[in-house]
């Protein structure tokens, strides 16, 4: 942004040094004297009644301190929802340990505590569990049926919630449409998979009655509240400490059963208890995401204008409703329209309970799914009408003059309103940058030579800077150092750097001189955290306010002391000075001058320590265009992304380098979802992809070497002082759509129908085979 000194620069990250030198502190790196190790016994059956658990063999093993089952916990509540709580969903909450029934493979049955993890795992093998099998519910669509076993009896069936979002007269408009198309789309179950598994270390001090938990992430303050409630303790006796976090992606940091069990065990045993999730556990214990089936009908005019779109979906919730589980189906329903004008629209989603790992949000929750459904549908329209897919998009975009644009759907009970944007402009910029016309010409040549090259387009609108509020506090200490205390957290994205830049802008101190604290609930009493691409928008806005107030106070106090006008003063490198003179006061001097009892301007409170709150009234909506260029080896079914372009309007980028890093990293996860990653379950609801041998994360070899990012700042948000919008998820949401469209485009001469992800060699082979049979 113009006139800014630090905002808008590619400030190298302040976090890097410790992480590059091995000095980072991840939860597994924290060791306490007397620490013992926990492991969980997890169900190997998908659905069963628990008859008995006999831990005597495990307890007899030397080195085992305790084995806890549900009985030992006594009365303990279910883990509540963090976002969008609803009455009916309470019937499906998970308790920390299963007591009478297990409902997914991986569900915790008992907690073992032993001298080390090796012995703890030995002990797990010595626990005798007697289960009586119940029928599994593995398929999301069949799970709705009358024949399906019911997971939660009080629900009366497996549909926990039915979401309806209606705009205009979808059925009528559909009936009146000149052309009607329909398709069934499926998005596979996959999830975040941070490189660091989850982990916790809890320690209880009997003297102070404080339980301290290292390893909190994402939402430590909310988790403190849940834990305090479940333990029946005051929040002030629960101390959460965020360590360095090895990736979040929506999955890590939510309140899971272990988040209760580990502190509970530390209190029960009076010893520090460490639990580091192993990768096999992680695959079935941490939230899954994305699994949906959509039945879409769309009505269009001959020119490609959409008259009506209806999608009826089944969303796989898994076995329990998790803290943020409802976000995914609701967002999927709300964000199907994307950047297109859909005045007649219906989205219905059944939230179906199945005997699989519970689900929650994963980077771009609901939007990845919605984008796939919407953008594939746009390409279907293009194919039906023999129009260029770019042209169909142009004919349906919401126009800049329509901003702010009320979509007519709702998220968290609020209307979805796009705050600002010029979608057609960004679209044309993207096509020009990628050389769309030249690519089409190249494709024609390739086809003439029998090669399969495809170009896929996908556009989207994001929803970032999610509420409800965020906090920031800026303090100048007696040594003159500036410390920022932020309510947001870091899951590895570089929050410390971005916050330092924002504070630096206000105070004229170099970012690397600013100390940023976050995630420690004893130091920062209130905060919301890291989700919904909100850190910079909400934490940054609160900080901009707090630091601005500190700035004003510094100026006024210095003016008072120096007996000059505050308007004439400038802040430079930790000093307030009158330009052209030697009149100045350092931050250190001013901090001392601000102590209680010192002379102050009338009405000024002592201290250089100011807190501010940013309350989210409206979320911000960045938007983007993705273009994928793929080459398909049709004989082997192998699709390779040759080139990928992301155009993204961020409003204002505090650190463009980090925004680009978010987009490219987000793209890699999207690529995984498009081509590689799937959590596969058998008919018996056994997880078949329980390790990195079978769950395939993208490597450097699957990534295209040509990745182009077009970062524009044409549409600052009107909802915050800096015009900020979020960057965390825009790299991911449209990737499944763009790559699927590109593969479909490449293989269009063979007449294939791409309706599901991931596009593995086997899947592409089957699509070609099906097209040959049909054609």
């Amino acid at each position: 942004m113009k006139g800014h000194r630090f905002i808008g620069t590619n400030q190298p990250r302040l976090e890097d040094r410790r992480l590059l030198t091995g000095a980072g502190k991840f939860v597994g790196d924290v060791r306490l004297p007397g620490m013992v190790s926990a492991a969980l016994l997890r169900s190997q059956e998908a659905h069963a009644r628990i008859r008995a658990i006999d831990a005597s063999g495990a307890l007899a093993l030397p080195g085992v301190l305790a084995v806890f089952t549900a009985q030992d916990l006594g009365e303990v509540g279910g883990i509540p929802m963090r976002l969008a709580p609803r009455e009916a969903l309470q019937k499906c909450f998970q308790k920390p340990l299963a007591s009478d029934r297990v409902r997914y493979v991986g569900e915790p049955l008992a907690l073992v505590v032993a001298v080390d993890r090796y012995v703890a795992e030995d002990a797990l093998e010595l626990i005798d569990v007697s289960l009586e099998s119940l029928p599994p519910v593995a398929d999301v669509e069949l799970g709705r049926g009358r024949d399906a076993a019911v997971l939660h009896a009080s629900l009366g069936g497996n549909v926990a919630e039915h979401i309806v979002m209606r705009v205009g007269d979808p059925e009528g408009a559909l009936a009146r449409s000149a052309i009607r198309l329909s398709e069934r789309f499926r998005i596979q179950r996959h999830t975040g998979i941070p490189m660091e598994t989850r982990g916790l270390l809890a320690s209880y001090d009997r003297g102070t009655d404080i339980v301290t938990i290292w390893g909190a992430a994402k939402v430590p303050h909310f988790n403190r509240q849940i834990l305090a409630d479940l333990l029946g303790r005051a929040e002030s006796t629960v101390h959460m400490i965020e360590t360095d976090v090895g990736g979040g992606f929506g999955v890590r940091g939510e309140f899971y059963p272990e988040d209760f069990l580990v502190p509970w065990a530390a209190i029960a045993l009076g010893r520090p208890v460490q639990w580091i999730e192993d990768r096999r556990e992680h695959m079935s214990a941490a939230n899954h995401s994305r699994e949906q089936v959509h039945h879409v009908e769309v009505g269009v005019r001959h020119d490609g204008t959409i008259e009506a779109m209806v999608t009826r979906a089944a969303h796989d919730m898994g076995a329990y409703i998790r803290t943020n589980g409802f976000v995914v189906p609701e967002r999927a329903a709300a964000f199907v329209p994307g950047p297109y004008r859909m005045r007649n629209f219906l989205s219905e989603v059944d939230c179906v309970m199945t005997t699989k790992t519970p689900t929650g949000s994963y980077r771009g929750p609901g939007r990845f799914e919605a984008a796939f459904v919407r953008e594939r549908t746009i390409d279907l329209i293009a194919r039906e009408l023999r129009l260029d897919p770019a042209e169909v998009r142009r004919r349906n975009f919401v126009q800049p003059a329509e901003m702010p644009y009320n979509v007519g759907t709702k998220a968290f009970g609020h209307d979805v309103i796009y705050d600002s944007g010029d979608y057609p402009r960004l679209f044309e910029q993207a096509l020009e940058r990628v050389g769309y016309e030249a690519l089409r010409a190249e494709q024609a040549t390739a086809r003439a030579q029998g090669r399969f090259m495809g170009i896929g387009l996908a556009t989207f609108v994001e929803k970032t800077g999610v509420g409800p509020w965020e906090t920031a506090r800026v303090r100048i200490d007696g040594s003159g150092f500036v410390t920022v205390y932020s309510g947001v957290t870091s899951v590895g994205q570089g929050m410390e750097t971005v916050l330092a830049q924002i504070c630096a802008e206000q105070l004229g101190v170099a970012p690397e001189k600013i100390i940023v604290r976050h995630g420690d609930t004893a130091v920062i009493p209130l905060g919301a955290g890291a989700y919904g691409s909100r850190g910079t928008v909400t934490g940054g806005s609160a900080l901009w306010d707090a630091a601005g107030q500190v700035r004003d106070k510094l100026l006024q106090l210095a003016a008072h002391r120096l007996e000059v006008s505050a308007d004439e003063l400038e802040l430079r490198e930790g000093t307030v000075m009158l330009p052209g003179t030697d009149l100045s006061m350092t931050f250190r001097e001013l901090a001392r001058a601000a102590l209680p009892g010192q002379p102050m301007p009338p009405g000024m409170e002592p201290g250089l320590d100011i807190s501010a709150y940013y309350v989210v009234k409206e979320t911000t909506c960045p938007y983007g265009v993705h273009v994928a260029v793929v080459d398909v080896d049709a004989e082997l079914g192998v699709a390779r992304v040759r080139k990928y372009l992301m155009a993204y309007d961020i409003g204002v980028a505090v650190n463009p380098m980090l925004v680009e890093g978010q987009l490219v990293g987000g793209f890699a996860q999207g690529l995984g979802g498009a081509l590689l990653e799937e959590l596969v379950y058998s008919d018996e609801a056994q997880l078949l992809t329980g390790s990195f041998m079978d769950y395939l994360l993208p490597t450097s070899m699957e990534m295209p070497s040509q990745i182009d990012v077009v970062l524009t700042q044409d549409a600052p948000s009107p909802h915050n002082a800096l015009g900020l919008k979020g960057a965390g998820e825009g790299g991911t949401v449209a990737v499944g759509a763009a790559i699927a469209n590109a593969v479909a485009d490449a293989l269009a001469p063979l007449g294939i129908r791409v309706t599901a992800l991931p596009l593995s060699p086997n899947a592409i082979f089957e699509l070609i085979r099906a097209a040959r049979k049909a054609g």
């Binding site: 030995d122 096999r280 596969v680 992809t689 395939l696 060699p761 089957e766 085979r769």
Partner: protein, 295 residues
């Protein structure tokens, strides 16, 4: 994911190693590079009573030419084979296949003998060594025997190796210089086990007709698959594209591929067929260019 307890033995000589195997039999597992074994231990899919670590056994790591054969010690790291100029020169097929084995950080530790005796049907080395007509030297307190690759692989993850035997050496006949070879693979990601892979060796006679061909497929059967009929069908042909096409179809018809969550049997059949055709064409091209270079 911590391994179960075991007794650890780290013999220094082959004699000590085979004596330990004789003593403990099936209760013992040999630890070579450990790149397949240790994951299985960490996942507790295996629980041997004894681990006999052969990494410190003298004389198991070498690459040399002995009497027209390339001899490689069983504990030779895959990375050493990949780097070996001798291997590249004498046995280009083996050299070509090495980078397909996982990643260099795995090959730094993984051994040729470990991979060959683990016998994963989708692994590269068993297929390549089978194609090359390699032989395995197995030693025990009962003596030494030499088993051909064809006889060594007996089924899915199973070999002719007896519990008291140690694979000490792999001997591969060095193909004549005019041999053309090719190794091709399709996998989900770079470095993953093959959905299908094909190793081919081809030689032409002076009239430019196929005098020798070896075609071995990985990833489709429990053991490296070689089709004698397909090979026979190519002898005497010029190995033109249509010959490669016909042969690969013949081979594919014989396959009864495995299905798993990464690929169906039908996919594997098709992939093996396509790779066979491409590898035959590639190997034929190389053999011809060798012949031209030689004349």
């Amino acid at each position: 994911m911590k391994p179960p307890a075991f007794e650890y033995r780290d013999p220094r000589t082959r004699e000590e190693a085979i004596a330990l195997l004789a003593e403990h039999g099936e209760a013992a597992k040999i630890l070579a590079g450990g790149q397949s074994l240790v994951p299985m231990l960490n996942l507790r899919l295996l629980r041997p009573e004894y681990l006999v670590d052969i990494n410190r056994v003298a004389g198991l790591s070498f690459i040399e030419v002995k009497g027209g054969e390339l001899a490689i010690g069983a504990c030779t790291r895959q990375r050493a084979i990949e780097r070996s100029e001798l291997v590249r020169r004498t046995c280009p097929l083996l050299h070509e296949a090495m980078p397909f084995i996982a990643h260099f950080q795995i090959r730094s530790r993984g051994t040729i003998g470990g991979s060959l005796s683990h016998a994963d049907p989708a692994a590269e080395l068993p297929t390549v060594v089978t194609a090359l007509g390699g032989r395995f030297v197995l030693r025990s307190v009962r003596g030494e025997r030499v088993v051909s690759a064809a006889d060594f692989y007996t089924g899915f993850l199973s070999t002719a190796l007896r519990p008291d035997e140690l694979l000490t050496e792999i001997r591969v006949p060095i193909p004549p210089v005019q041999t053309g070879c090719a190794f091709m693979e399709v996998s989900r990601r770079h470095g993953d086990f093959a959905l299908a892979a094909v190793a081919v060796l081809v030689r032409f006679d002076q009239d430019g007709r196929c005098a020798f061909v070896r075609l071995v497929v990985a990833g489709v059967h429990g053991v490296p698959f070689r089709s004698a009929d397909t090979e026979a069908s190519l002898i005497g042909t010029k190995l033109l594209p249509e010959d490669a096409e016909n042969a690969s179809r013949l081979m594919a018809a014989e396959l009864e591929p495995i299905s798993d969550l990464h690929a169906s049997a039908d996919y594997r059949r098709q992939a093996a067929r396509v790779l066979a055709r491409r590898a035959l064409e590639c190997a034929a091209l190389r053999a011809r260019s060798h012949a031209e270079a030689g004349t």
